[in-house]
């Protein structure tokens, strides 16, 4: 006897079954399509944005992310794996159902071809059986998490109850149908063992007798069908929609460079509005992002502002944009999200980096900041406005006289390019390493290292201006572009081959943001540059003992994926790194990004003190950083946390310079 089963057993494959079944299916899918079409109209309130370039790669990314659940599982704990396993289970059931439809309603009636038979049927049977069980168990786990041991910040709405209830009902009723059928047709057969879960149900129901089993089967079959129809209809109405929207968001995802902001066209004389205050100022993708969000709160869990009691949650910003788009399109976005929340962002990128739905949080926040700054002249505090004005006058937010920008280099044998442009690298020093007493040590150390490796360094001296990064991130695109254009014209005038920076903010800005403004010269971060010198034997270091922990700055780490070069340098200098719990892509911000270096931190706990606390926990006496902003924040945080006796902070360049062989 060949292994198979009768499709439509007990419900019949006549018109009485097929017509209502297909009619219901058609109606359900039609409702789904119509409702989604309405949502597309809502998305289209936003500005145009091309997200279909590189289409083949985009499709590949989407397929990979959906089928492999790559982003869901990345650094995932229990819930991520539960979602992944549930998805695979449910997806297999979906495929199984499709195979049944294909055979029962197409290949068999039209061509007398049946493929659900023999060994393939055995495989089909056992796979679906196990898939169903896995889906139920995983759903159960997620249910317990959501309703009994709910983690802080997990927002639970009506949708969640509907989704859990419906999925449970679909899965269980499926097994009831299988059990009833098996109780009548498969008891005691070898085949039954290929449906182990179904067999358990069958044994449980076996006492009912054939007649009742057939009634139960038939009723449950139709009930199951109705549940599935309800599921299809509810997709666009509930968070079930993420099945489509999140999947498509992988297709529409930003393809980088990571964290590069959209440049505003400052020459557009027709433009009357800048940044985003109304939903129509956002792009369609910003609205779509809200629909792709599943409120998994992974962004919120990692947000340094949120975890220090500031009024920002990247998840809520995304959701609030959705609320405005769908429910109150006339509302002011900035008021809805709250100014304090928008100003609190450090653009650390932890939200966007972890988002399993490829949502772009940071650009949205910057768009709203741009509106506040460019349209209203508003800042998070007077100190920020002062820093902006200082930068306009002196080219640095510290307000120090521009002419003394190169003074630090006078006695280290480095000249400005205006005096000697024949150099190996242009060192773009940045404001803090130029003017700030503590950070000047970074500049001097870097020059010492280059000189030891036989590299001739030049600087721009008093001609250099702030790269514009803090201003840009605070929303002042106009000031950023003025500074950027001046720097670009200046650097281009000097036949520079390579630019090296010791500030990751300068690095990110010159290497990515300046590209929009016609800057094409190679830019390297000093850790990468020095690692090459180390590898080629030009830079020689002593490796005395050095117990330390290392802080991945947001702009070297998450923004540029530079994790290994700095660690290799530290190790070459004898460093034994005791990693903090939050390191590499999970690193916790120092508080100074997003232009917050210019702002006072008035709300909640101090981020830098919290991070210093994490460094202290490692027991290492030295905290190494790679960024002048981080160094400044940690010097301050060490004093603020009263741990001067336990921890000191240094830049990698300082430690290397101390350990030159």
């Amino acid at each position: 006897m060949e292994f198979t089963r009768e499709i439509y057993w007990n419900v019949g494959d006549g018109i009485g079954t097929l017509l209502p079944m297909y009619l219901l299916t058609f109606v359900s899918i039609a409702i789904l399509v119509v409702i989604f079409m309405k949502r597309i109209k809502i998305y289209r309130q936003g500005q145009a944005l091309d997200r279909l370039d590189h289409l083949p790669e985009r499709i590949l990314d989407m397929v990979k992310n959906v089928l492999l659940q790559s982003k869901v599982l990345r650094r995932a704990k229990g819930p991520g794996w539960a979602h992944g396993a549930f998805f695979w289970g449910f997806f297999l059931l979906f495929i199984g159902t499709c195979l049944i439809v294909v055979q029962a309603d197409f290949t068999d009636p039209l061509f007398d071809v049946k493929f659900l038979k023999g060994n393939f049927y055995l495989l089909f049977s056992v796979v679906l059986d196990v898939a169903g069980l896995v889906a139920i168990v995983m759903l159960g786990g997620l249910f317990v998490r959501r309703y009994f041991v709910r983690p802080k910040g997990l927002e639970t709405i009506k949708d969640d109850a509907i989704m859990h209830g419906l999925l449970f009902a679909i899965l269980i009723s499926g097994f009831v149908i299988e059990g009833a059928r098996m109780a009548v047709t498969e008891m005691g057969t070898y085949l039954a063992y290929w449906s182990p879960v179904g067999l358990v149900f069958a044994k449980g129901m076996a006492g009912l007798g054939d007649e009742s089993l057939r009634s139960v089967h038939q009723l449950t079959w139709w009930f199951h069908l109705l549940l599935v129809m309800a599921f299809i209809i509810l997709i666009p109405y509930t968070k079930f929609r993420h099945i489509f929207t999140t999947s498509l968001n992988y297709l529409f995802a930003d393809r980088g460079p990571t964290g590069k902001l959209v440049s505003l066209d400052m020459d557009d004389e027709e433009a009357e509005s800048f940044g985003a205050a109304a939903i129509t100022d956002m792009t369609w993708k910003d609205i779509f992002d809200a629909d792709a969000c599943t409120q998994c709160k992974r962004c919120q869990d990692r947000c340094p502002a949120y975890s220090t009691d500031k009024p920002l949650s990247p998840m809520k910003i995304v959701n609030q944009i959705g609320e405005v788009a769908f429910d109150k399109p006339q509302a002011n976005l900035i008021e809805t999200c709250s100014k304090d929340a928008l100003w609190a962002c450090t653009t650390c990128f932890a939200c966007q980096e972890i988002c399993p739905a490829s949502i772009e949080h940071v650009q949205k926040i910057i768009d709203m900041r741009r509106n506040m700054v460019l349209m209203e002249g508003e800042f998070p505090g007077e100190e920020v406005m002062t820093a902006m004005e200082q930068t306009e006058v002196n080219g640095n937010p510290l307000g120090l006289g521009y002419a003394s920008r190169g003074d630090w280099a006078e006695d280290v044998g480095v000249k400005p390019l205006s005096e000697d442009a024949d150099v190996d690298i242009l060192y773009f020093v940045g404001c803090y390493a130029s003017f700030d007493k503590r950070n000047i040590k970074i500049a001097r150390s870097f020059v010492t290292l280059c000189q030891a490796a036989g590299i001739k360094v030049g600087i721009l001296g008093k001609e250099e201006k702030c790269c514009g990064e803090p201003m840009r991130k605070m929303g002042n695109e106009y000031l950023y572009q003025s500074l950027a254009l001046e720097n670009i014209e200046l650097i281009k005038g000097y036949n520079v081959k390579k630019v090296v920076t010791t500030c990751p903010h300068c690095f990110n800005t010159l290497a990515k943001d300046y590209r929009d403004l016609g800057f094409e010269i190679e830019v390297e971060n000093y850790t990468v540059f020095l690692e090459q010198l180390l590898n080629t034997g030009k830079l020689k270091l002593n490796s005395g003992e050095l117990a330390c922990t290392y802080h991945d700055s947001c702009y070297l780490g998450r923004h540029n994926n530079i994790y290994d070069a700095p660690r290799a340098l530290i190790k070459a200098a004898g460093g034994q790194i005791v990693e903090m719990d939050k390191h590499r892509a999970e690193a916790f911000c120092c508080s100074a990004g997003g232009g917050r270096i210019m702002a006072e931190e008035k709300l909640g706990e101090r981020i830098n003190i919290k991070r210093v606390g994490m460094a202290v926990e490692t027991g290492a006496p030295t905290l190494l950083s790679n960024c002048p902003f981080c160094l400044t924040m940690f010097e301050d945080g060490i004093k603020g946390a009263n741990v001067e006796d336990k921890l000191n902070v240094k830049d990698i360049a300082e430690v290397l310079a101390e350990r030159l062989a």
């Binding site: 007077e382 004005e389 006289g401 521009y402 003394s404």
Partner: protein, 257 residues
């Protein structure tokens, strides 16, 4: 209502100052330029008054070389309607009386209802120009105002006096105000206003057309104060600092004897 705001471009005070060759003013190289702080309050107050009245015409005036136009554009971006640039490369050689005369000559037949100036410039700091202009035009002037209210031609201004005292002074237009720190917080120009400012009228008038008087004083010499002793910055941990301080007090003073 017609309002005149007089502003001056000054070096940023963080700049590296050097004396010029003649030793009577500072050298212009390596300086960053900005709007005189007190003049920013003047511009802001004028713009706020315009916002209050809805209908007013704001002229911003500055005397100096070509570069002052950059600063005047900021005033236009903050909300002034038109600019009058009195072109003068030798502005720094003129005394306050000459400067005031130039302003008065420009303003005399234009019927300004209100004139705002800074209370003094950050570089010369004579504090004379505003009051001299008022005198030359026969207007009442209120100096060092820290609060300003206008109601139907009636001006109520608060003045800052020595020793923490304040005074309320009232007058009617036309009048002249010199503005002091604390009057307001100057706005940051919005981008649309920066764009609009580029298209606003900014006329240049040679100073020779308006200068009809001679100087009453001259700057004989300018010099850095002699370095005497100077401050001492102690560095180190708190315990260290205390030890150092006690040592200094013992060695150099009699307070611990």
């Amino acid at each position: 209502m017609k309002i005149l705001v007089c502003i001056k471009q000054v070096p940023d005070m963080e700049s590296k100052f050097k004396l010029n060759g003649e030793g009577n003013w500072y050298d212009g190289t390596d300086l960053a330029w900005r709007m005189n702080e007190y003049d920013e309050y003047a511009v802001e107050q004028a713009v706020q008054l315009k916002d209050q009245l809805g209908d007013a015409d704001l002229t911003v005036l500055s005397i100096g070389p070509e570069r002052v136009k950059e600063m005047m554009k900021k005033a236009l971006a903050m909300g002034c309607d038109r600019g009058a640039h009195i072109a003068d490369d030798d502005f720094f050689k003129k005394d306050p009386f000459e400067i005031a005369s130039v302003v008065a000559e420009f303003a005399k037949d234009k019927g300004f209802d209100l004139i705002f100036t800074g209370m003094q410039s950050q570089d010369r700091g004579s504090g004379q120009v505003g009051v001299l202009v008022a005198e030359m035009l026969g207007l009442p002037s209120i100096t060092t105002i820290v609060d300003f209210a206008f109601d139907n031609g009636q001006i109520t201004a608060k003045r800052e006096l020595e020793g923490g005292m304040k005074a309320i002074v009232k007058t009617r237009t036309p009048a002249l105000m010199t503005c002091q720190l604390g009057l307001n917080t100057p706005r940051y120009p919005t981008l649309p206003n920066i764009m609009k400012a580029k298209k606003k009228e900014l006329l240049s008038i040679p100073v020779s057309e308006l200068l009809k008087v001679e100087a009453k004083q001259e700057t004989a010499k300018m010099y850095f104060p002699e370095k005497k002793g100077g401050g001492l910055v102690l560095e180190g941990s708190v315990g260290d600092l205390v030890d150092q301080l006690i040592k200094i007090l013992k060695d150099k003073t009699a307070v611990l004897a």
